[in-house]
């Protein structure tokens, strides 16, 4: 392994993955890591603005939001939370396996992650289907039979619900795309303990999407529901 050479020596042999404008692998790795973090900053504010809208309307239309959230399926939401947490574990392990040069482990973890991601989307689709059946999709057909007086503002809840979970699901789909690409490269054996930045920053992205859900779950399913 070339890494055995002194790491901060600039005379290090050129790794094939070192781009021309960087001096060392170290510098390249740090740059992509920093880049990903900055991207996540934009994501935080992206979702954050939606959270603001949610917080605002929830504060304004408290009763309606409570009534609306009673139509959420805690079981499915809870399972999905567990699924995502599990996928975060596999992602973390994929970083570990690439750091320790264990290709098989890496590939297994990447596949597991994708399977879990798909499971999440599947369950989400079931939930969406339920909502459509119950006329909870915002628009002219929206109904809230148990509290018709609250229907208008409950619709606000569902606009936010579909927007937030939809955007989240969209991020999952992008994540699946990224993981497919990582998987292909991993199978080609491109990653090693010297070069695993793509695995790591892909992982950062996935964890972030997971964190968004960690907040969405209580906000959209749980709070204020006590039976």
């Amino acid at each position: 392994m070339t890494v055995q050479a002194h790491p901060d020596s600039s005379h290090e042999e050129h790794h094939p993955r070192l781009q021309h404008h960087f001096e060392t692998m170290e510098q390249q790795h740090e740059a992509s890591q920093l880049g990903m973090w900055l991207f996540l900053v934009t994501e935080i504010l992206f979702f954050g603005a939606l959270f603001l809208a949610y917080a605002f309307y929830r504060w304004l239309y408290y009763d309606a939001f409570i009534a609306a959230s009673h139509h959420q399926n805690i079981l499915l939401g809870g399972i999905n939370t567990a699924v995502l947490i599990f996928s975060s574990l596999t992602v973390a392990m994929s970083v570990y396996y690439s750091q320790t040069n264990r290709r098989k482990g890496l590939i297994v973890m990447l596949i597991l992650t994708m399977v879990l991601g798909l499971a999440f989307l599947g369950i989400k689709a079931v939930e969406y289907h339920e909502h459509f059946e119950h006329h909870l999709f915002p628009g002219p057909n929206f109904q809230l039979p148990d509290a018709p007086g609250l229907a208008a503002q409950a619709q606000m809840f569902y606009v936010l619900y579909f927007f937030m979970t939809g955007l989240h699901a969209f991020h999952m789909i992008i994540g699946l795309g990224i993981y497919t690409w990582l998987l292909i490269r991993a199978m080609k054996g491109e990653f090693s303990s010297v070069y695993y930045a793509p695995i790591e920053i892909g992982g950062l992205y996935w964890h972030f999407v997971d964190i968004v859900w960690i907040f969405l779950f209580p906000m959209l399913y749980l709070i204020g529901r006590h039976y």
Partner: protein
Amino acid sequence: MTTAVLDPNHPLESPRKNYLNREYGVLSWLLTRDHKRIAILYIVSITLMFFVGGLFAVLMRLELLTPQGDLMTSDTYNKMFTLHGVVMIFFFLIPGIPAVLGNFLLPIQIGAKDLAFPRLNLLSWYLFMIGAIGTFVVVMLGGLDTGWTFYTPYSTQYSNTHVTLVTLGAFITGFSSILTGLNFMVTVHRMRAPGLTWFRMPLFIWALYGTSIIQILATPVLAIALLLLAAERVLRVGIFDPSIGGDPVLYQHLFWFYSHPAVYIMILPAMGVVSEVIAAFSRKRVFGYTFVAYSSLGIALLGFLVWAHHMFVAGISVYSALIFSFLSMFVAVPSAIKVFNWTFTLYKGSVSFQTPMLYALGFIGLFAIGGVTGLFLAALGLDIHVHDTYFIVAHFHYVMVGGVVMAYFAGIHFWWPKITGRMYPEWWGRLAALIVFLGFNLAFFPQFLLGYLGMPRRYHVYVPEFQVLNVMSSAGASVLGVGYLLPLVYFIWSLKFGPKAGPNPWGAVGLEWTIASPPPTENFHETPAVRWEAYDYNAFEEAQRDRAGTP
């Protein structure tokens, strides 16, 4: 512009290969990852956008010559100012200095071979172009009439123009902006040359760094606001819709959370350019370097705390207005720091008056006027009267046209020899600078008077007593237009006929002046070491002599 450069029959007679003549063919440009070539791509597209936006302005000013609104229908006029605003802001001024000058210079000024993510950089340009082309398509399809602010519920429920398309275009362009900022920030953090500590960096880099912070933190909020808007328009129900209890003012909060900081996305790089130019043409370190550097960060961060000063009469709470007005006063302080420090840079300097310097001096004066009128607006009791009148229009053209565009011109003239290897004709340059300055003031000073008199903005017809001032303004705009066309002509002329420029035509300090004009593709043959403080003329000259002496 590129064609002349590209033309294989007229290569720039540079002794060596440089980034311009290294490869030929359209694809070598469209697929390039060289930050310098990407900068050229931006120059071309942004210049185009500027003249398109300018064309809309000219048509508006023609219409406003008479009070009756007889040149075009009111719908057409409404589309004019909307497209003028959208094109100028999202497609010219926000990308302007960072994407052109920043792209070209940032890696060179910090001694790097390229930006950290060259492919991302190219992607930014493509995203920008997608947004721009989308906007052109909208123009073809019949335009947009919401004003550049897209206020709901007009934009979501009433306008029957192509709001969805434009918001999506602006959304995509927003990502271009985010990625540029991200790229710059990583580059500054991770790729500075040895010896280039933070407080040895040129002030332009500080300014771009501040700009990047804003781009990263603010743009996503606009993105989400526009997405919500588009969704509401498509689904016909959304979170700003009053009929389900939505609050249109919430949209304004989200919009201005971005759009106020966005005005600093425009002005900060401009201030960076001016710092460079003032230093170069006074042959002096910028007075109070550290204060100027920190004030860039100060503007970037404080700029986030003032957004609701655009909403003083929109129905926000009185107490909230008090807070935002208070914070608006804070954000003016770092600007004041800069203005005074630039002024004192001239003190005991060695001042020469080439074109870039003329623009820079013009910038300081006009920005000061534009800036202090910002204080008028931030003063609550007064804003009630002047909000949404031509006073606002005058204020923001003073800071944006008198400020940012002036600085953009200063920068383009300053670095033109570096970018193209050619000098522009100095005499014409000075003449154009003079025309621009005079035309500008004639065009926009009367608007302050109009505004205080009470002429609302976005008015197609107006009451007759405002006519004289409007005619003055239109006359000024024509002069201004001539002033802008001149550089276009002589820059293109200079590509072929301009005298060749040496590596350091102005005798300025900075890494970009140590390499050939135009620079080679890899910028530096070997990583430079920086041994001088920013703008330290003596140490810089010594270092250059050393380098020449030890081949």
